[in-house]
């Protein structure tokens, strides 16, 4: 290659930042000329923590994820507060909002996603696609300004600040949507003392992640945590009122059945949509995200890549077999995006001869969803709709799908394990944190479950030492750790005449190390004497 490889990263969120971080070795050697275009003016932050930030459980500094100074020091160009407006794929040139343009050999699109705004009377909505949006992509992300006062999504820091202020003011908060983010906010806000109502149209919360039994278990837990849950309610409109100062504010959410749910702040938590306008405008295939193949390259242009929430990965159809776009959606979770970023950076480093080529990017399995909350433990992944006695017509030559479950609604516990060949394909675990963490690990590692699945449930039981009962006095139980002396040996010593702890120590060395067991030696002696006393009459 003659000059350095010119790479332009568009989007400087967590995923774009990861790509930049892992490419810096190539930048330092001068083999890669890296430009980063980020629309926001400040360092990127970890969006996963946004609900916690909204309830003041964490602070801005702790969320920072990028180090543009390091990237700049390595030789990268970092353009913050600048948007990419269009991609000219013929000229290999990107037009920027500051009027300039940059040439590229490779583009990495990491434009992420924006919060969905549902159709509600009274709330303006913006078309995500189409010429208008593409020519003014920046407008799509300025929805806040057009939102009625008292209505917000939860995606960025400004949204979180609005919510934080509302909680501090003791406002009633209505959350539309019962997905993970909405529930995390609801629980955190309730804990922070907020009055929270969650409105959703399904029968139970987290319907994309849970089965019905799990959903009902969660709904009860939410209620117990002080969150009002309004199910089976399709929101249709908002009612606003005009204050004395002439300001129009949110007053209530109106549902299809006529019900009105009043509050001071409406949070729209209805999922996210990939930011694809730039790609669509450049005539790249776009479905639920920018369509890329297994090497993360656009189906239509091998020099354009997409990673993270803006991308949907699907095998390219064979030549001449049409171009039916994939129906799948981006994962919406950070893990897959990071893996893609690392892999893509690794591939480019390898191409530049700076590293060994990484192994093929493994197809993402469904990602584990964990509700971040203090008092409710919910972990779910995969398709968990099947029930224990269901048939598995799809099995074919594979082992049959198997379901094991444990339900204890009274105590808010529910576990469903969906396995094939002993390996988890899906799971729900509610109210059992240790079981949940173990199942998570087993799923992530594709490890085989024990044949006796109930072993896993016992992790949330009492400590085995307490279960085995009275073990402290068993013959085999070690009393003196320092000298490995068992209760049985102490009793034997008592039988041979030791009457005091000191005499036991002399005979067995028990108690002659750290001395921490002297009390227990006394207990064993006492127990022995009690048994002796009982034994005497019989003798």
């Amino acid at each position: 290659m003659t000059g350095p490889l010119r790479v332009v990263v568009i989007g400087y969120g967590p995923v774009g930042a990861r790509f930049v971080e892992e490419s810096l070795d190539a930048v330092r050697t001068g083999r890669m000329q890296l430009t980063v275009v980020g629309a926001e003016v400040h360092e990127a932050y970890n969006r996963v923590l946004i609900a916690e930030y909204a309830v003041d459980r964490t602070h801005r500094d702790a969320m920072t994820i990028t180090d543009s100074a390091e990237a700049v020091a390595a030789g990268a160009r970092v353009l913050l507060g600048v948007s990419a407006l269009r991609i000219d794929r013929t000229a290999r040139r990107i037009g920027l909002s500051d009027g300039s343009s940059i040439e590229y050999d490779r583009i990495v699109l990491a434009t992420g996603a924006r919060a969905n705004v549902p159709t509600l009377d009274g709330v303006p909505r913006f078309m995500a696609h189409g010429r208008h949006g593409a020519q003014h992509p920046e407008r799509l992300d300025l929805a806040d300004e057009q939102m009625p006062t008292g209505v917000t999504v939860l995606r960025d820091l400004a949204d979180a600040d609005r919510i934080r202020a509302a909680i501090a003011a003791g406002a009633g908060i209505v959350i539309l949507g019962a997905g993970v983010l909405g529930l995390e906010l609801a629980l955190a806000a309730a804990e922070a003392g907020g009055r929270v109502t969650v409105v959703h149209h399904g029968g139970f919360p987290m319907p994309r992640n849970l089965d019905r039994a799990g959903g009902v278990t969660l709904a009860r837990a939410l209620t117990d945590a002080g969150v009002t849950v309004v199910a089976h309610s399709r929101a249709e409109a908002i009612v606003q009122h005009t204050s004395d100062t002439g300001e129009r504010r949110f007053e209530s959410l109106v549902c299809a059945d006529g019900k009105q749910i009043a509050g001071e702040l409406l949070v729209l938590s209805c999922g996210v949509a990939a930011r694809t306008e730039l790609a669509a405008d450049a005539a790249l295939p776009v479905a639920a995200g920018i369509v890329v193949d297994e090497s993360l390259a656009s189906w239509a242009d091998a020099s354009v890549f997409a990673i993270g929430d803006c991308a949907v990965v699907a095998a390219r159809p064979p030549e001449g077999r049409g171009t039916e776009l994939p129906g799948s959606a981006p994962a919406g979770l950070i893990g897959p995006g990071w893996r893609q970023a690392s892999w893509l950076a690794g591939t480019m480093l390898a191409e530049l001869g700076l590293a060994a080529a990484p192994p093929e990017l493994a197809a993402e399995r469904s990602a584990v969803v964990m509700l971040k909350a203090e008092r409710i433990d919910v972990v779910a992944v995969g398709d968990v709709s099947a029930e224990p006695w269901d048939d598995d017509p799809s099995a074919g030559d594979r082992p049959r799908r198997q379901i094991a479950l444990w339900a204890d609604p009274e105590h808010g516990r529910y576990v469903k394990m969906v396995t094939r060949g002993g390996v988890l394909e899906g799971l729900v675990c509610i109210g059992m944190p240790r079981t949940a963490s173990e199942l998570t690990l087993l799923f992530e590692r594709r490890a085989e479950l024990p044949a006796d699945r109930s072993v896993l449930l016992r992790l949330d039981g009492p400590d085995p030492a307490q279960v085995s009962g009275g073990s402290a006095l068993d013959d085999e139980s070690t009393v003196c750790l320092c000298n490995g002396v068992t209760a049985g040996q102490i009793r034997e010593s008592a039988r041979c005449g030791s009457e005091t702890v000191a005499e036991v120590s002399l005979a067995t060395r028990a108690g002659t190390g750290c001395g921490g067991c002297k009390g227990r030696i006394g207990e064993v002696l006492e127990h022995y004497r009690t048994l002796e006393a009982k034994a005497l009459p019989a003798g």
Binding site: N46, T58, S437, A451, D452, C514
Partner: protein, 699 residues
């Protein structure tokens, strides 16, 4: 007792160095030990300590120098024959292959004097850079992390008794209840405060100390400690629990740390470790609750390819909580071997000169060369860390001779078969030991040395306190001190410099050589030590020592501790049918077992290695307690009996590493090493287990 004389000394085994008195019956000549009051052990001893005198009357003592014969047997020879032969072979190999063809392998059980003299002997008598020691397998990761963060590495930078008043102690990867049980008395305060937190994939005897409201046992998957620590640091920073004033005044690097852990929220940590997110939050809050808090690491978290980074993460956690250098709080690593502390300070390490000086530092070279009476240019540069040193045996450009002191690498080094193979390729293997170790079996020459109560010297315990080892019994006629052996070899090699065989003289020279270095012993002499003074290094001339480091700053030019952001790549993950093997120690055995396996009372309690695995795992494999099992991977096979216990994670199997031959856990361990410290990956090997067919049961 009439006719007995009690000598005040310390236990021959671990770094706690329990004080004991050794009495020898005037009539029978039989030595007995008793605990002696001392701040660390308070008069107590563990089973190993109580039975230590048995070592002195073991029939297995090597009676005289042994020379391997053509038929493989060993023949007793005189000392002069043996030493002449060794010196002549060393000369010949050096002239044929160069000075670096001779390697030296030391040990963390050697006295300060021997460790020092061995380093000097290697550098100026042999002229080789190829010296390292078994402490590489113990303390190197924590040492590297401590040096990087604090500018100095003293295992506990405070007296052990400081732990007594702790309200919270986070113990990461250490089973002190078995490895140094008298230490438990120092955990009593934290237990009473409900604040003993033990992180271990096994519910060990130490983890059980957390039961009944005394604290919390955290049971992550092996090799995921770093991810756990990153999660804890995340919570501390995210929830604003860091000690901002301390961080601002006493550290550097916080911003990069905060950025690096912003991606480690507790649920992500949970997915990597198997530790519930809520436990991670609770734990972080407890650590940050403002009480007297200590964070301690052990080999469980350090013996990994990311061991230095894991210890660094533990230090980072301590630093953002404002613990190091604050009275009643701190970070420390629990040194393992008897002189694991002193042994890593005075020149056994491949990159180091006495006083914990860097061998690459021109000023350090000049100072030490002056003490040794040689030119700085004549000192070799840095050599190879232990695993690389052993891997170079018999290889082109590698070592062709090896002198082994106080170490049993056949049992203690990772990937046993490659070590054994390497030993076989050597032209000369000289082993100094008092017992016929598994390594000695491969030797060309075995030189019997004095032990414990047969020698004077000093040790530096896990708290950085220099203590005296004293003669209580006469050495067997055939045994010699290593100081004498090194003197005799140096003389035969016409080496420059002085090699005294008087420990006191050697110590005085060590003190001079260490002057001005991080581990400065220059103000210490035997008289001071014998006065009963509490002597903690650094102890420069004119000072009264340093019981507590970091009170007024850290050992970097700007006095600030370095917070070094580290990242986790995660461990190798077991595939279908595989388990993760972890290794560790038992109460009744010590290190390679070369001593303890010869003591009936200890060995009868633990006569064989037993694999511990979870009943559910065992059930699925068709294994029950007492079954002989075969544990295999690409490096070899271990055959031991199984014991089922719900105390271990289902994905993990535990083997003690004290045993030899087909029970040797290190047949299976990997010799991959930490890129910074050279520490091998002892605590994470993938294995498969199956019942060994009955027909295969050895008679």
């Amino acid at each position: 007792m009439p006719g007995t004389l009690a000598v005040a000394t310390h236990c021959p085994y671990c770094a706690l160095q329990c004080a004991m008195s050794v009495s020898v019956d005037g009539e029978t000549g039989v030595a007995t030990v008793a605990g002696r009051d001392f701040p660390t052990n308070r008069g107590g001893l563990c089973k190993k300590g109580w039975t230590a005198a048995e070592l002195l009357r073991s029939p297995d003592r090597i009676p005289a120098p042994l020379l391997r014969q053509g038929d493989g047997s060993f023949e007793e020879v005189t000392w002069s024959t043996a030493l002449d032969l060794v010196a002549e072979r060393l000369r010949a190999l050096r002239s044929e292959y160069g000075a670096d063809a001779v390697g030296v392998f030391g040990g963390g059980g050697l006295t300060n004097e021997k460790a020092y003299q061995l380093g000097k002997f290697a550098r100026i008598a042999l002229g080789t850079s190829r010296i390292d020691y078994n402490g590489r397998f113990c303390m190197s990761s924590a040492a590297a992390a401590g040096n990087r963060a604090f500018g100095i590495d003293r295992g506990l930078p405070f007296p052990l008794t400081d732990l007594d008043d702790a309200e919270t102690i986070l113990l990461l990867g250490s089973n002190v209840a078995e490895t140094m049980p008298p230490l438990l008395s120092h955990l009593a305060g934290a237990r009473a405060a409900g604040g003993l937190i033990v992180v271990d994939p096994r519910r060990t005897a130490t983890a059980r100390q957390c039961e009944d409201g005394a604290g919390m046992h955290v049971q992550p998957a092996p090799g995921t400690d770093l991810a756990l620590l990153l999660g804890l640091i995340h919570v501390v920073i995210a929830e604003g629990l860091a000690d901002a004033e301390y961080v601002a005044e006493r550290t550097s690097g916080f911003t990069a740390l905060a950025r690096s852990v912003s991606t480690w929220w507790p649920e992500r940590s949970q997915a990597a470790t198997g530790v519930p997110a809520r436990d991670i939050r609770l734990l972080a809050r407890r650590l940050a609750s403002g009480g007297r808090t200590f964070i301690l690491t052990g080999r469980g978290v350090e013996q990994h390819v990311d061991g230095t980074d894991t210890a660094t993460a533990a230090i980072n956690l301590a630093l953002i909580l404002g613990l190091p250098g604050r009275r009643g709080s701190g970070y420390g690593t629990l040194t393992g071997q008897g002189n694991g502390q002193g042994g890593r300070e005075h020149g056994q390490k491949c990159d180091q000169l006495p006083g914990y000086r860097k061998i690459t530092d021109p000023a350090a070279r000049a100072h030490v060369a002056a003490v040794w009476g040689v030119s700085p240019e004549s000192l070799p540069l840095a050599g190879l860390p232990a695993v690389e040193l052993l891997a170079s045996m018999g290889q082109p450009g590698g070592i062709r001779a090896l002198l082994v002191h106080g170490s049993n690498v056949v049992v203690s080094a990772p990937n046993r078969s490659s070590v054994v193979q390497g030993l076989g390729l050597l032209d000369l293997l000289v082993v100094c030991d008092f017992f016929f170790s598994e390594t000695a079996e491969h030797a060309d020459v075995i030189l019997p040395v004095t032990q414990w109560t047969e020698e004077e010297g000093t040790m530096t315990s896990l708290e950085g306190r220099v203590i005296r080892r004293r003669i209580a019994t006469a050495a067997p006629e055939g045994a010699r001190s290593e100081l004498w052996i090194l003197r005799e070899l140096a003389r035969r090699l016409d080496a420059p410099g002085v090699y005294s065989d008087d420990p006191r003289e050697v110590f005085d020279e060590l003190a001079r050589a260490s002057a001005g270095g991080p581990a400065d012993y220059s103000g210490i002499d035997y008289e001071l030590l014998d006065s009963g003074a509490e002597v903690y290094w650094p102890y420069p001339v004119g000072s009264t020592g340093t019981p507590r480091l970091f009170r007024n700053g850290f050992a970097h030019p700007d006095a600030r501790a370095r917070i070094v952001a580290v990242s986790s790549r995660g461990p190798v993950i077991p595939g279908p049918g595989q388990l993760t093997l972890i290794t560790g120690r038992l109460l009744e055995q010590y290190q390679s077992g070369n001593q303890t396996r010869r003591i009936a009372e200890l060995n009868d309690a633990r006569p064989e290695a037993i694999a511990e695995l979870h009943p559910a795992t065992a059930g699925d494999l068709g294994i029950t307690t007492g079954d002989l099992v075969s544990i295999t991977n690409e490096r070899g096979e271990v055959r031991v009996r199984a014991r089922l216990s719900a105390d271990i994670r289902r994905d993990t199997v535990f083997l003690p590493f004290h045993y030899a031959d087909e029970q040797s856990a290190n047949i299976l361990t990997r010799d991959a090493t930490d890129p910074i410290s050279g520490m091998p990956e002892f605590k994470n090997a993938l294995v498969t287990i199956r019942p060994a067919a009955r027909a295969e049961v050895p008679a």
